[in-house]
Symmetry: D3
Subunit: 69 residues, 6 copies
């Protein structure tokens, strides 16, 4: 399956902090820390665990560019 989403970063899960509805999945992508807020249902269904190799997928329209003055 290929995705129209232009940003796909290989990453390893380093922590999962779950609430009742949402979980924050922390990842390491080649030294850069990433965080994904997803449903707890998704954590369960994908059987996400610390150490898993995953891909962080982000749509191009969700990326903001910041530039130092």
């Amino acid at each position: 399956m290929r995705l129209s989403a232009r940003n796909q970063l290989p990453a390893r899960i380093t922590a999962i902090n779950g609430g009742q509805a949402t979980a924050n999945v922390e990842m390491d992508a080649g030294g850069v820390r990433l965080v994904a807020s997803i449903t707890v249902e998704a954590v369960r269904e994908l059987d996400l665990e610390v150490g898993d190799m995953v891909t962080a997928v982000i749509k191009a329209s969700d990326v903001i560019v910041a530039k130092e003055d």
Copy 2:
């Protein structure tokens, strides 16, 4: 200024493909290709150019996790 957005990736602009309303800004983040779709106004106001060092900013709620079967 600090941002609540949890994902902030240092990157270098490698290409800017602009239309009339939207521009796709391509970046290299330590070997990973990123693309941001932003307004042409933002490209102009931030004076974005190929070679610029920038930060790709993404909210945690915009990150999808994908896992191989």
Copy 3:
């Protein structure tokens, strides 16, 4: 590959209206019309064409609920 995104609708592409940076991909999902605004690069790389069977993927945090008064 499994995705954390909770909304995955099977659909058929009915039209692609492309600009220079963005394309609007119209789909039919069992009688409901869907539209996805994606990069023209994604249209090209996925070789999207009218008639293609695809899946419209949407993160749960991007869905608004509307209710009649």
Copy 4:
């Protein structure tokens, strides 16, 4: 009121799983399962309940297209 958001799917609420800040509202849209992550405040103010007929509203820029290889 008309919305610029291009995706509007009639649906019936099948479950509401609320945490302290966020609730996941599950819906059935003509046989397709949808999930919306919204604030618990919105659930309360719209008085959302299982069985309610609602509309799932999604902006075109939030829809990803996936295609099988």
Copy 5:
């Protein structure tokens, strides 16, 4: 119709800059400038014109908080 989206700002359209697929709609909300990137189809169907009174609708999960150091 009521929306789960928590941010609803009354505004007046001050400019519409359309491309082939996307249009940037500029608004004034009580002195604050807003910009919405929407499909050209939405501009046409809602018959949006400079001077129109509209509401800018934004989901709470799409709002980033920035704080000065």
Copy 6:
């Protein structure tokens, strides 16, 4: 630091309702109520408190336009 995000509203925090993973930050922007759903980690790291002056940042592609019939 300048941001490509076109919507930046000065606001004062009026309430913070935190769950385990997500917090809803309520703000007043010149009389208009805003709500941001962000991670509890961001609340902690930015040391957000009621009364703080902040900026609500929203990407143009996340703004929906609504118009009365």
